[in-house]
């Protein structure tokens, strides 16, 4: 290697180290031992859909705000529909001193023009408002928890993508979707949210 190429090599190595060590937003150290609850195990109480009176303590409110501001920092110039905090839905549950926040796209809000794949995140926030753990959709839950390597080898040979047989007769209505969704599939049963001001 020529001597005059050495500065370039040093610059490349340095840039790699700087990237590895660049300051990342919170959290600096996540607690990977925290186990997230399954947010689909219970029905959420929707806030703001009726005229009921709800009360939220400041700790819960701050936790939700910390999560959403980390997920989608406010202040973007000319934000698209999906860059707005109101384009997402938020599920919050408290377990002891940890508040868990699940954020996922509100597809109806932006007019169902897109399928936002792997676009949510789950947070664990302390009662002091500190992010304890953050997991984006699809991100490994931890280095020690890969998917079972051969979990699929017990299956049966079939043509890929084929819907396997069900317990019920194939012509029976689906038990897995609300019946009103299957009335011709001509459109959503009701608007879930108000239309976005400037979809994009």
């Amino acid at each position: 290697m020529k001597m005059r190429q050495l500065p370039l090599v040093f610059a490349v190595v340095l840039s790699g180290c700087m990237w590895l060590r660049r300051p990342h937003p919170a959290p600096l150290e996540e607690d990977s031992s925290i186990v997230f609850p399954k947010f689909s195990e219970r029905t959420a109480v929707a806030v703001g859909t009726g005229s009921e009176l709800y009360e939220l303590d400041g700790v819960m409110l701050r936790a939700a705000m910390v999560a959403v501001n980390d997920f989608l920092p406010p202040g973007a110039k000319n934000p698209s529909c999906w860059d707005r905090q109101e384009a997402y839905r938020y599920r919050v549950i408290r377990q002891g001193d940890i508040i868990f926040v699940r954020i996922y796209p509100d597809l109806a809000y932006c007019g169902r023009k897109f399928l936002m794949l792997d676009a949510g995140a789950t947070y664990a926030i302390s009662t002091e408002g500190r992010i304890l753990r953050r997991l984006f959709d699809g991100e490994p839950k931890g280095p020690a928890s890969p998917e079972p390597p051969d979990a699929g080898t017990q299956g049966v040979p079939m043509a890929p993508g084929t819907a396997p047989s069900l317990e019920t007769h194939p012509n029976e209505p689906s038990n897995f979707l609300p019946p009103q969704w299957l009335d011709g599939g001509s459109g959503p049963p009701r608007p879930e949210s108000p239309p976005a001001p400037t979809p994009g």
Binding site: L20, G138, A159, W181
Partner: protein, 257 residues
């Protein structure tokens, strides 16, 4: 003082970042908005050179290696030493497998458009709900499978499940084809390979809303195997329950789609 592992990472990081930065270059078969432009609201179709298929199974088998061969589509195994670096530079690609009035299954162009992320931790793909195939009126196309890759062997996410149900609410959960009804589904391909230049298609996860089935398909040599990993039951437009129950798939009656 840097350890040997840190030195290796220092050397690897700029290489991987360079690969990541080069993702602004055009990729064959992939469309994305120009910088500063809004997200694409439709994907052009069909994919040049992909061909048209009489069966969706054949189309899926062709689409899997095509999608996984796109730059940084795989991040290797989670337990690999450099996985975290690979993850940061990984990309998700998505597209539609659709059914045409000519009774063929075709693949749209792919996209890797996603929301900006300074941390490079989010791996998502924003799939336009529509395909623009100039040969046919838009209303004559039937959407069958929403396809994307997961950079490693990760199951379908909550967002994936919600996304395909949203599509079903607007376009229906089944489509009529020449061979009968075909059920709308979302699919995430994966590779277990560490050969980043030539990854193998090792399987995919599938969710079929109308049957509630969560499936895992794996490929060993030329044989595909199916395993049902659970069911999803929707209660309303935002709440669903997942019942995890692993069992071999039962073959559908002959001729069933």
């Amino acid at each position: 003082m840097l350890s040997g592992k840190q030195v290796r990472q220092c050397l690897l990081a700029p290489i991987l970042l360079g690969l990541g930065c080069s993702s602004t270059k055009p990729i064959e078969g992939v469309v994305r908005p120009s910088p500063g432009e809004p997200l694409l609201e439709s994907l052009p179709g069909p994919m040049p050179g992909f061909g048209s298929f009489d069966s969706f199974s054949d189309a899926l088998m062709a689409a899997c290696p095509l999608i996984l061969s796109k730059p940084n589509a795989i991040a290797g195994r989670v337990e690999a030493q450099d996985f975290q670096l690979r993850w940061r530079t990984a990309s998700e690609y998505c597209g539609w497998l659709y059914y045409t009035p000519a009774h063929k299954y075709e693949l749209s162009m792919l996209t890797d458009q996603s929301r900006a992320d300074d941390l490079n931790r989010r791996k998502s793909c924003v799939l336009p709900s529509l395909v623009d195939d100039q040969r046919y009126p838009p209303s004559n196309l039937k959407y069958v499978f929403a396809l994307h890759n997961h950079p490693y062997e990760a199951t379908l996410s909550d967002s994936d499940i919600r996304a395909i149900v949203s599509k079903g609410l607007t376009h229906g959960f089944e489509v009529e084809t020449k061979a009968g009804k075909v059920r709308l589904a979302i699919i995430a391909f994966f590779s277990r390979s560490n050969d980043f230049g030539n990854p193998t298609c090792d399987g995919f996860f599938q969710y079929i809303p109308i049957t509630g089935q969560l499936l895992k398909w794996t490929r060993t040599r030329d044989e595909w195997r199916c395993e049902q990993t659970g069911t999803v039951r929707w209660l309303n437009e935002v709440d669903y329950r997942v019942e995890n129950k692993t069992a071999p798939c039962r073959s559908a009656p002959e001729g069933a789609p």
